[in-house]
Every structure is written in structure tokens, then in C-alpha cells.
């Protein structure tokens, strides 16, 4: 069973999507470690280390995602999580922006997968299977 860490980053309290993600990933046979809302990068990284997780799914809904996710890849590497998969989704920037550009910005920051608003979490399941192997 693959372990993944999920949570909502920064001063963000949007809890609904997070609960749904936990439910769906669990249903799909993942070992889900949910650190909940109002989590910072350290919380994500510590949880991943402790549970030997293979991927971190960061949610950011409230618009500060761009600030909150800064240097997350670097911080993972420093913590020895060199190969961990980093996904981010939700409403990760302020306002309605061209998603192609947003995706490029976050990829440059080291995220492996970047999702637009309202993504069906089933899409991420497919990608997790691809990226982590069955």
C-alpha cells in the first residue's frame, strides 16, 4: 500500500476538499496521512518522513499558494526527501489566471503535477499510479 501525505498549506482553512480527498484516496487503496488544514511546509515534510510517504499532495485554496509553496522542493531535498513526488492543487493563485502560466510557475518551483481549480481528484489517482507504479 502506497502512502501519501495530504493537507492544506498555509493559513488556509478550506476543509471540505481535504476531507473529500482523504475519502477518495482511501477508497482507492492508498494509505492516506491527512495533516489537515493550516499546515505549514514543515508539517508536510515531517509527516512524509515519519510515514515514509512517496508523495505529498498539497492543497491550497485561499489564494496564497504561491507564497506558501515557495522553496518547498528545496526544503524537501534538505530534509532528505529528494525523490518525493510533489503535487499541488486547489485554487493555488489569486484570481482567475491563465492556467498554463500558473502551471509553468509551479513546475519551475519543483512541483511534479499542478492541478487547476475544481480538478476531479480521480485524475490525481491515475497520475499517482503512473508516477509511483502500481
Amino acid at each position: 500500500m502506497k502512502t501519501v501525505v495530504i493537507g492544506v498549506i498555509g493559513a488556509d482553512v478550506h476543509a471540505v476538499g481535504n476531507k473529500i480527498i482523504e475519502h477518495v484516496l482511501t477508497e482507492h487503496g492508498f494509505n492516506v496521512v491527512n495533516i489537515g488544514v493550516l499546515s505549514n511546509q514543515e508539517d508536510f515534510i515531517n509527516a512524509a518522513i515519519e510515514t515514509d510517504a512517496e508523495a505529498i499532495l498539497v492543497s491550497s485554496l485561499y489564494g496564497h499558494g504561491e507564497i506558501d509553496c515557495k522553496y518547498m522542493r528545496e526544503n524537501c531535498e534538505e530534509a532528505g526527501l529528494g525523490k518525493i513526488k510533489l503535487y499541488v492543487g486547489g485554487n493555488i493563485v489569486v484570481g482567475k489566471q491563465d492556467f498554463k502560466e500558473v502551471e509553468a510557475r509551479f513546475k519551475k518551483m519543483g512541483f511534479d503535477r499542478v492541478y487547476p481549480p475544481g480538478t476531479d481528484i480521480e485524475d490525481a489517482v491515475k497520475h499517482l499510479r503512473e508516477d509511483l507504479g502500481e
Binding site: V13, V16, I20, G29, V93, K96
Partner: protein, 490 residues
Amino acid sequence: MIENKKIPWEKFLEKRARILTQWETGKSPLLDLDKAVEHLRSVPDHKNFAKKLRKAKAEGITMIQPRAGVALIDEHIKLMQYLEKEGEADFLPSTIDSYTRQNRYQHAQDGIKESERVGRSLLNGFPAVNYGVEGCKRVYDSVHVPLQARHGTPDARLLTEIIHAAGWTSNEGGGISYNIPYAKNIGLEDTIRYWQYCDRLVGYYAEQGIEINREPYGPLTGTLVPPSISHTVAIIEALLAAEQGVKNITVGYGQGGNIVQDIAALQTLDELTNYYLKLFGYGDVFVTTVFHQWMGGFPADEAKSMGVIGLAATVAAQGKATKMITKSPHESQGIPTKEANAEGLRASKIITRLLQEQKFPSSKRLSAEKDIIKKEVNALIYAILNVGKGDFARGVVTAFDRGIIDIPFAPSEMNAGKILPARDAEGCIRILEFGNLAFDDEIKAFHKEKLKKRAEEEGREVSFKMTIDDVYAVSMGRLIGKPKKREAGS
């Protein structure tokens, strides 16, 4: 221990001195109470939130107000002016950014700087504390309608001091409604105390003859909240505010989706709040209602979002809400541009005006829905009073702790999180799992019966899957979530 008791003035001043040191803008000479009173006295009636609400209620018109706020003050002023002029907003907000809400003023300051650098707002709201009374006054001076702070701040004491001194005559929030949906592990006792402070300040101004409006935040998590639960929170926050001397209160409700339930909710919200205020000795409080356009997940499509907005406005106007908080066609995507925000406003505006002479007719069906809401609210209020041994402040803390009152989908650890809502066959929000909710068997049987009927129609068991399907439904264009065939796990 927490108590629902008016804060003695000296104690208030003691606290105040400390609070004003939390950030440098607390030192402003404009925060001198006499100066603030003087400025507030100069606010003309049409810019006074409380007075404009009285007028609207008398005329039976539903007023409209957007959410909006950006990092940079000049941009924020332009935004406000645009929404007043092009959006025809009756009331203006200033939505506060999330760092300020968490009292992270240094983060907010960084956000301002970074926004200046990149030339677009990187904050999701207006950092009012950082701009201080002087900044907020500039905003106030630049518009012709009343201003309100809208946020989600557990500890909004400094923010409250600043905005009122600047002439903003309304403040949204409350010790419960700005904690449970907006925080993870801040104690309820603490937030109730913080908000008693905010209310006490408004009470002080009231003693000086200055009417300021207070608005408990109605929709809570915005996601399948049964009306009786949000009503109970609103009523308790109204009672707590009234005890501190607040005289003008707007209780809120977020659109549920079933029109009859929504109208019943709006009517009972007004009736019950007035009833309990009078019952507990606050008969001189003026009550109005605010209807929030759909607070759950929006459809991605802009035209469909406009449809949702139109439906919401039709309901609010027929339910005679005094005010309505509008959404925009960008809702599912992100904070709207000023243009999109104004579109939501104007679509709402014409509906409220076209319907201003109309009212949803009373009917048996409506009465039935009102009755069940009233029964449930009474049960909850009574239970809270009971565990509080006659004190609502104490009662509500214990009640949350024990799940006697419980809010679905809330992030807060102070909340039991045991209840599960789901829609019935007509789309009314009912309860599937009650946890410890203080409902008697008759009420529970009613909910179970309603959900059984839906389950039968859909040929499935009553279960959490319904709740999940309902959470998604509106963004998929339906009110009641239909069973989705998901492949089982790998």
C-alpha cells in the same frame, strides 16, 4: 471562566491598552476614543451601515453587497469605487487577507511589499491593520456607501479598533462563527472573549449615541449546514453581542438550495432572533437578515455561475432578506476581477429590484418547514442554556465540546465533527448522522424518514456517499448528488 457578562469599562480599557501595541498602527492618535467618537459622529446617515439597514428593512428591499479586497490600498480604493459605481453595490465590504486574519501582520507586510514588486495582489484581501486607521479612513473617504470589514478572524480586536475609528460602521464576525469554520485549534473560550471585546467597543459607541452594525457570520462552513444549526449559532452570537451593548445586528444564512427551506430559514431567522433577544431582555436591538448566495463549490462555467447567482437573488428577494452577499462568475476560479464582481452585483441588483414588491406566499408547505426549523433551534438553544447552567457563553463552549451543537465540515478541533448532513428527495438539507446533537427522537425520526425516501428513489442505502455526492452536486449542475459510479481501489 467565560461568562456572558458585559465587560466592565475599566477592564476593557486595560485590555485595550495592550491590544493597541500588537502592531505599530495601534499607536495612531486617531485611536483615541474621543477622536474616534468625533469622527463616527460625522458619518452621514447614508454612510452609516446600521441606519441604511433600518431604511432597507422598512422599505422591504433586499440590499446587495459584494466581497472584495486587495493588497494595495490604491488598488483597493479603485476596487471599492468601481463596485459602488459599476456594481451598484448598496453596501461595500473590505475583505481582509488571510494573514491578517491569523494576526500575522509581518506576513501581511511582506505580502504588501511583494505585491508592490510584482504589480499584482498576492494577498487574498485588504490588510487593514497594516494600513491602520489613516489608511482605512482614506478608503472610507473615497466612497459614498457604508463600509464593513469582512474577514474570518478569530482575534479581530485590533482590526476592529482600527476600522471603527476609521468610520467603517459594520463588522462581520463572532466568537463561534469566526472560529469553528476558520481555525484549527484556537479555543472557543478565547474567541468568545475576543469577540466580547469587539462587541463591547460597539456597545461603548452605542452609549455615545453612535449606531454601529454587527453581523455574526451566518454560513459557517458554507457546506450543507442545516438551517437550525447556523440559526442557533447566529442567535447565540446575537445574544452575546447584545449583552455587550450592541443595538443593531444582522443575522445571516447561506443559501441551502431548496427554495422553500431557504425562505423558511430566512423568515425563522428573523423571527427567532427577535424572539430570543426579547426573551432574554434585549428588546431594543434592531434585527435584520443577510442571505449569502450559494456558499459551496460553484460550477466552473461563468454562465452557469451567473445562473446560480440569479437563482440565489430570486430567493433572497422573495424571502425579504434585508441584505444579500453576492458571488461572481469567477467564484470557482479565484478572487474575481472587479468586472466579474460587478457582474454578479448587477445581475443580483436587477432581480432584487424587480421583485421588491413581491413576497413568497405563505403556505402549508412553508409553515411545515418553518416549524421544524423552530423546533430544532429551540431544542439546541435549550440544550446549550442547560449545559451552561443559564449562561450562553459557558453553555456554547461545553455544547461544542460535547457535540451538542456540531457544524459539518468544520476544520476546528473544538468542534465534534460527528454530524453528517445530506439532502432529501426535494433537496432540503437534512441530517444523516446526529452525533450528539441535542435533537429529540421525534426530530430525528423526521430527518431519517426524509432521507429514507431519497435513498429509496435512488435505489441505494442512506450513507455518507450521499453527503459526498451532495458536496459536489452544485458544481456539477445538480442540487441533489446522484450516485457516481466509481471504480473500486486498485
